[in-house]
């Protein structure tokens, strides 16, 4: 079974990218309308003005309170030590920074979201090899195609991180570091050399594994023995060790370091659960799409059922980690840790708790029934909600540290999602069209074709 990248999909992806680019460009243009502190003063005055004229008069008090705490939280982000040493920054200047950070953060969230899908699929793929799973080989080509985005996706995330520089990572701003004892203490790890060096090393490792195992998978198709499969098995087992270490470190570098004063031990696992469940969801969505085109007739209900079980189970696993992280910090309520959640609950109430509904309650109730897991439109519907939920998850990790209360899911955010969504579809479906959709040389293929649950 060959797949040819249909023109309609190709044009759709390109249109998404163009619209996304326009949205991103508008985001940068819009945020740079506020060039100086004076512009921000005008903006804040107009916002206060609006509050005074609100019907019940409660609005202005609320607005003032909001700005007051907003200032405090922003100070926290830029280092309270800074203030002890007499480095004062006005409220307006903070707001100006937040406005300028927004398009960078929007771009970064979307870039990381699509990258993490493909890295999650790469881990899932390696697990299927290492576990010698008998059900999944019919889906290997779909997984291989999704992982084609690992290399470009990771390079884009790194590039955005470096271009955005201090707009995302305050520890990249020497001005801030000079006044901040806490960041100074962490500078052995949080410095640009380590950031770039480790990131490049990890990207090299992931894409090398992806390149090698894809080569083996294609070579196995025309082989008369299982030597390529055995090699792929060994590489996968090795990769999983590499992956779990690098994924953890990359989540500290690329995500946790946007809040350089905060740390959490299970953060790496938490990010892993997020990328794993989004990856599995995308495998299911693409498999259902291709099957609806009549291209995967060897994929049956039971394969979809198994993927849906994974979506269900890993969604609960994600929630377990989300809640463990939240509850431990909420319970002990240590000021240095708890600011992380105070910022989120104060300003991100809807996205913060909304994502728990989308990532937990919704899949829990919809995918619990065994019969529903075999109905394609049910899986697609749940999958779309899970993907939106995990976009918001990444949003909640990055935005509170960069734009604080000046967040909105508007043109810059949607534009970025369209841009990288189009790019993702383009890479994935181009890779799908490069090889037959059935990895026929796999020794488990016969079992997988007759898989029945």
């Amino acid at each position: 079974m060959e797949y040819t990248f249909s023109n309609r999909l190709k044009i759709g992806a390109i249109v998404c990218m163009v619209l996304g680019l326009i949205g991103v460009a508008y985001g940068f243009y819009d945020s740079h309308k506020y060039a100086t502190v004076e512009d921000v003063k005008v903006l804040l005055a107009s916002e206060d003005h609006g509050g005074e004229h609100s019907a019940d008069g409660h609005g202005s008090a609320h607005a003032e309170e909001g700005h007051g705490t907003g200032h405090a939280a922003a100070e926290g982000d830029h280092g309270e030590e800074a203030h002890v040493e007499g480095h004062e920054m006005s409220h307006e200047e903070h707001v100006l920074h937040q406005i300028h950070n927004r398009p960078y953060a929007a771009l970064y969230v979307a870039a990381f979201f699509f990258f993490m899908i493909s890295l999650g699929v790469l881990a899932f793929y390696a697990i299927q090899y290492a576990a010698q799973a008998g059900w999944s080989p019919v889906l290997f080509r779909v997984m291989e195609a999704i992982t084609a985005y690992v290399l470009p996706g990771a390079l884009i995330v790194l590039a955005i991180a470096l271009v955005a520089n201090k707009h995302l990572f305050v520890w990249m701003d020497p001005e801030v570091v000079a006044h901040d004892k806490l960041i100074q203490g962490k500078s052995g790890f949080l410095n640009k050399g380590v950031f770039i060096g480790l990131s490049l090393f990890f990207i090299l490792g992931w894409s090398a594994y992806r390149y090698i195992v894809r080569k083996f998978s294609l070579a196995q198709d025309n082989s008369d023995n299982n030597s390529y499969f055995k090699k792929a098995f060994r590489w996968s087992a090795g990769f999983l060790v590499f992956y779990i270490v690098t994924e953890s470190i990359v989540s500290w570098l690329w995500i946790m370091s946007v809040d350089p004063h905060w740390f959490s031990t299970l953060f790496g696992w938490y990010v892993f659960a997020s990328m794993f469940v989004s990856g599995i969801t995308v495998i299911a969505l693409i498999a259902i799409y291709l099957k609806s085109k009549g291209l995967l007739e060897f994929v049956n209900d039971s394969h979809i059922h198994d993927l849906a079980k994974f979506m269900f189970g890993i969604s609960i696993f994600w929630t377990y980690l989300w809640f463990s992280q939240f509850m431990l910090i909420w319970y002990s309520n240590i000021p240095e840790e708890v600011t992380y959640y105070i910022t989120r609950i104060e300003y991100y109430k809807l996205p913060f708790f909304g994502m728990v509904v989308m990532n937990f309650i919704f899949p829990l109730l919809l995918l619990m029934n065994s019969d529903y897991k075999r109905i394609p439109w049910f899986v697609v519907m749940t999958g779309i909600v899970i993907l939106c939920g995990h976009y918001i998850d990444v949003f909640n990790m990055i935005m509170p540290a960069t734009v604080v209360d000046r967040w909105f899911i508007g043109i810059p955010e949607i534009g970025s999602v369209l841009l990288f969504g189009g790019l993702f579809v383009f890479f994935v479906f181009a890779a799908l069209s490069k090889a037959p959709l059935l990895a026929k040389g796999n020794p488990f293929m016969k079992e997988s074709k007759h898989f029945h649950y």
């Binding site: 809640f323 939240f326 509850m327 909420w330 319970y331 309520n333 619990m368 065994s370």
Partner: protein, 180 residues
């Protein structure tokens, strides 16, 4: 009317049993019961048994457990005696909810699991000191037994079962069996 006689066909292989079940069903005979030493995959489908609803009961028991946990802790910790314990906010349930989640989870699982097991025992009539309903002790080791009611068709049924590969066919008088 209950049939007074049943026929016991004994098999020694689960594959032969499966094909026998299909054949007997095709001939439109009603299979009363099948005794096997281990679960035979697909036997329930071949016999045309209705799917189990025990998972649905388990879900409902889980909901009961969750409700018990919420009502219990809301009464004890919030309504009855809202003390300040280590600065935890006991003003409303939602404010202190994260602390209650471990108990909510465990009680949900506890109710779902235990009540479902008890439901299973009740529905399958299992309890200590229950008299075993085993027609032939060999069915717990390596033999399979199919029980079919006889309605004046003893000979044709015997011939049919012989054809399906039964190693032994016994006619049992039910009234005698029930007498003790």
């Amino acid at each position: 009317m209950e049939a007074s006689k049943v026929i016991h066909a004994i098999y020694t292989d689960d594959d032969i049993l499966m094909s026998a079940v299909k054949k007997v069903k095709a001939e439109k005979h009603h299979i009363e019961e099948i005794y096997t030493p281990f679960p035979v995959h697909g036997l329930d489908k071949a016999m045309g048994l209705a799917p189990t609803r025990i998972a649905i009961t388990s879900f409902m028991y889980g909901c009961v457990g969750l409700a018990v946990a919420i009502l219990m802790m809301n009464f004890i910790m919030i309504e009855d005696w809202p003390q300040d314990i280590g600065g935890k906010p006991s003003f409303s349930y939602i404010e202190n909810m994260p602390a209650f989640v471990p108990i909510m989870f465990e009680l949900t699982v506890f109710f779902a699991a235990h009540l479902m097991v008890i439901t299973f025992y009740l529905r399958s009539r299992m309890w200590p000191f229950k008299k075993a309903e085993n027609p032939d002790p060999r069915t717990t080791d390596d033999h399979f037994l199919m029980e079919i009611a006889v309605h004046d068709n003893e000979d044709s049924l015997t011939n049919l079962l012989k054809e399906t590969g039964a190693v032994e066919i016994n006619i049992i008088d039910k009234d005698e069996e029930d007498a003790h």
